[in-house]
Amino acid sequence: MKPGSAARAAGRAAKAFAAVAASLISIACGGGKPLAIGFIGELSGNNADIGEAGRNGALLAIELHNDSAERGRRKVELIVRDDLSSSDGAVRAAHELAESGVEVAIGPFNTAMADAALPEAERAGLLLVSPTVSAHKYYGVDDMLIRLNSTTRDNAGAYAEFMARRLGIKTVAIAFDKRNRAFSESWAEEFAGRFMTLGGEVAAQVPFDEMAGGGYGVAIATLVASGSRCFVFVANAVDSARLAQLARKAVPGLRLAAAEWAATGQLIELGGRDVEGMIQLQTYDADSMTPDWLSFRDAYRTRFRAEPSFSAVAAYDAVGVVLSALGSRKKGQSAKDAILSGGPYQGLQQEISFDHNGDTVRLRVFTEVRDGVYRAVDPAR
């Protein structure tokens, strides 16, 4: 016997004893292994607002499910992984979740992270159900990604329609985030194409990379130089807030819009008065008075001491879809088939149904920041 092996054996015995005891206790308590649902999102870094709200929405859905679950029904747990806003982080998150036996994960929350995580998910058989990813390139593709959001084509097209037709804007200048190019560039292209079709003019279309040094100054200078009086930012909340502050400092009274990506509370907190009047597409109706919405909102406020944002609502819906589909899946059916063949699912504010590629259409509500809150815009009113 090698020295130390006895100690190791004793350690193993203790662990085995603990494991047996733990399993006995859990059996005695009638627990059973809970169903694990994964979560991949940016929980640190400058998209953490979306990730955190998404995590909150998913967590709330699961906690409510577990609270209301009848006796004996299987509990659900959320295994949360931070993709650290990096491709490596996203791959590792997907890998770890798949390794720990997770079959379905909520997330990722933006296209760059989806690009990174999807190959690993395909390889490991992990189904990604993204509440927010909208890049058009995922549309019509049969893959391990199911999206609850509309495509950038739909959303950017809707922005163009809204701004050109409803607001009567003739010229815009666009700044888009190079770091989430898969989303933002495609969004900018779709928007510009549609906007021009509607007779508008795109005076500038500028990429920026805030982290690459040089800040937002160059981009803002280009936008200002284009002479347009309406800027559109295809960026997250932090960047959009900063761009708004710089733009309004340079040209007071500018009309501003930001892609739906930025439509979180962080935009207003960080942008302050400089984001007042900014146009935003929300994928939910914050002013809804339906009982479902009000009870969700109250539960969310109580649980997280914060207001729900679009990613919270979408993640809540995503968990609802997953639990509903897995609850009624047939023997031998994959989670993906269960989700796609089931439905339509009842979301908080809309019915959700998928085509055979896992694409769907999300609710659209245009808002503007007024007095520090998002207010639905209806120029017709």
Binding site: L43, R55, N56, D239, L270, G272
Partner: protein, 637 residues
């Protein structure tokens, strides 16, 4: 033999293991029960001290940053812009603790921002509106130093926490990267803490985990009741389930930082002390089992040998062999068992012997008894036969008496007539000595003629009677088979009974169809009739002053139905099934032999091939109905 010993060894091992395991369970449970409260107390103590210590250390570490910022805030309004910037730059230093510092004006717009490295973005921040940020709002509302929850920095685009405090009529904010916060927490928790801890902000967001298991942002603990209670200001220490894990929890809220330290010492089976205790108990148990098995093996071996010896002994005893040398084993009881076995063998031997002799004796006794019984049975049978015979003789006696009586009248009359003739003859002889006279001769002739006529008539009557009785006697005595008329047999037998019946107040009426020719044993039938009539008179009319016996007979197909009925007292129900049994009588000791109806039954069923049935109703009389074939079967033997 080997197999059974192995089985025994296995049983011993199993017993040792089971007994030890049971003891272990019992003792272990007792120890655990005894120790658990103090373990729980220790655990809660560990959590409490950890929470308090960590909170104090964090306040001290972050408090030093705040103190420096307060110094900066106090001096800044007095300094020129350049010196302010120098001071801010010095405050930030290499950025390892504080990443950036912002000076905001009274409207919340950035006046100046300073970071470790010169950065284009810093100048861009100038004029940026921070008035909607929770930190600015909190400071401007309370006008006191405030530590923020986790937020995303507009400067770095990264998650951060900040401390803000009033500075002149504006606000100054120091931003700490989450990385540096984690470093600080790591430093604070690097040693001397008894339990891991979480640091959560006001929203329940996990800021740091001293174990590093959960990353910042990966958890919001407000959903845990304990955390919510602590965040709402409760100073809590308890043992509760957090997530799926039982832990001793203690929360300490830092008023200064707005953060709450949640220390959690593992409870239950995750508690190291508990594990150590469990391990001790298990080790103890394992040692005991090993020792037990060792001892058990040796013991089992010698016991096994003893058991084999005992088995040998017992088989010797059971086969009646000589058990050999006295047995000496490891257990006194085994010796006792062996001694008992020997004694048993001896006792069995003796008992066997005595049983054998007893058995032989018994056989003799059984044989003797059987012989006795056979003799008794023989005697009984002969007695029964004798009784039947004497019954017959009695009947014959009656018959003779009847005959004598019947003959008495004609013979008496005949005697009287003849003696009268004799008297006349003597008187006539005396008269003719004196000379025969015609008148005397005439008188003699007429008187003698009359006398002779009377004598002749009576003698003829007697002869007729004797003829009848002769037939009856022949029948009775010989049981000869012959053809007969049933009415004649009835009449003859009643005639024989007549003298006896005449002395009683009872009468016999007959209504037998005349001329029914039969072939069989009229003697037996006659006896049957006599017995039935006697039975009616003796039993049916017992104590009555009148009674009628009716005998009726008629042909029914190939049979004759003859019934003898009386209007007497009847036969009680309980006696009915037994009346045909031999020696059954209700008048034992007063003349009844108990054989009358038995003879009836025997004669009818066995000799005449017929059947006899009985109808009787108490108080209304009894009817015996005989059904007889016209031709009786041949008698066997």
């Amino acid at each position: 033999m080997r197999g059974s010993t192995r089985g025994f060894l296995g049983a011993v091992y199993l017993l040792v293991v089971m007994a030890t395991a049971f003891n272990l369970l019992l003792v272990g449970s007792a120890i655990a029960l005894y120790r658990l409260p103090s373990l729980a107390h220790d655990g809660r103590q560990a959590a409490r001290s950890t929470a308090d210590a960590l909170e104090a250390r964090l306040e001290a570490l972050f408090g030093s940053i705040q103190a420096r910022l307060e110094l900066l805030a106090a001096t800044a309004p007095l300094l020129s812009e350049n010196v302010q910037e120098d001071q801010m730059s010095e405050f930030v230093g290499d950025g390892s603790a504080v990443r950036a510092v912002y000076m905001l004006d009274s409207k919340g717009r950035v006046l100046r921002a300073q970071a470790a490295a010169k950065d284009e973005r810093l100048s861009e921040l100038r004029g940026a509106d921070f008035s909607y940020t929770p930190l600015y709002r909190a400071v401007s509302e309370t006008w006191t130093p405030v530590w923020s929850d986790k937020f995303i920095s507009v400067f770095s685009g990264d998650t951060a926490v900040g401390v803000g405090l009033p500075c002149g009529d504006g606000v100054i904010i120091a931003e700490l990267s989450l990385g540096s916060v984690l470093d600080t927490v790591r430093l604070a928790s690097s040693e001397g803490l008894d339990a891991p801890a979480w640091i959560v902000d006001r929203k329940g967001e996990l800021v740091a985990d001293t174990e590093g298991l959960i990353g910042p942002g990966e958890a919001n603990l407000l959903g845990e009741p304990f955390v919510r209670y602590a965040l709402e200001g409760g100073v809590a220490t308890e043992t509760a389930r957090i997530g799926d894990t039982l832990a001793h929890l203690a929360a300490t809220r830092s008023e200064k930082l707005g953060w709450t330290v949640i220390a959690r010492a593992p409870a239950g089976i995750r508690d190291q002390h508990f594990q150590a205790m469990a391990l001790d108990i298990i080790a103890m148990g394992a040692g005991a089992i090993a020792f037990g098995l060792l001892i058990g093996a040796g013991w089992a071996k010698s016991v096994g040998g003893n058991v084999r010896g005992l088995v040998e002994l017992s088989s010797a005893v059971s086969e009646g062999r000589d058990p050999g040398e006295p047995f000496r084993g490891v257990i006194r009881e085994f010796d006792a068992v062996a001694d008992e076995l020997r004694a048993l063998g001896k006792a069995v031997d003796e008992r066997e012997r005595s049983l054998r002799s007893l058995n032989e004796e018994l056989e003799d006794r059984v044989a003797a008894r059987t012989a006795e019984l056979e003799g008794a049975l023989e005697r009984l049978t002969s007695t029964q036969d004798e009784l039947v015979r004497s019954q017959k003789l009695a009947a014959l006696g009656n018959l003779v008496a009847g005959i004598a009586h019947e003959l008495n009248t004609p013979l008496g009359n005949g005697m009287m007539a003849v003696s009268t003739i004799a008297d006349h003859h003597r008187e006539f002889a005396k008269e003719i000595e004196g000379g025969l006279r015609k008148s005397a001769l005439d008188s003699y002739v007429s008187e003698t003629g009359a006398g002779i006529g009377i004598a002749l008539r009576n003698l003829r009557r007697a002869a007729e009677l004797i003829g009848d009785f002769k037939q009856l006697a022949v029948d009775r005595a010989s049981d000869v088979r012959r053809p007969y008329f049933i009415d004649a047999v009835v009449r003859e037998n009643l005639a024989a009974l007549y003298p006896a019946l005449k002395r009683t107040p009872y009468t016999v009426e007959t209504a037998v169809e005349p001329g029914i020719a039969m072939d069989g044993y009229p003697g037996l039938l006659g006896q049957v009739i006599v017995n039935l009539v006697n039975n009616a008179v003796t039993h049916g009319f017992s104590g009555r002053d009148r009674g009628v016996v009716r005998i009726s007979g008629a042909r029914a197909g190939e049979k004759v139905r003859l019934s003898v009925s009386d209007d007497g007292v009847g036969i009680p129900d309980e006696a009915k099934p037994r009346v045909f049994e031999p020696f059954f009588t209700t008048r034992m000791g007063s003349g009844g032999s108990g054989l009358g109806l038995y003879i009836v039954h025997n004669a009818i069923v066995n000799a005449l091939g017929g059947s006899v049935s009985l109808e009787s109703e108490p108080g209304k009389g009894t009817t015996f109905t005989l059904e007889l074939p016209l031709v009786a079967p041949e008698r066997k033997g």
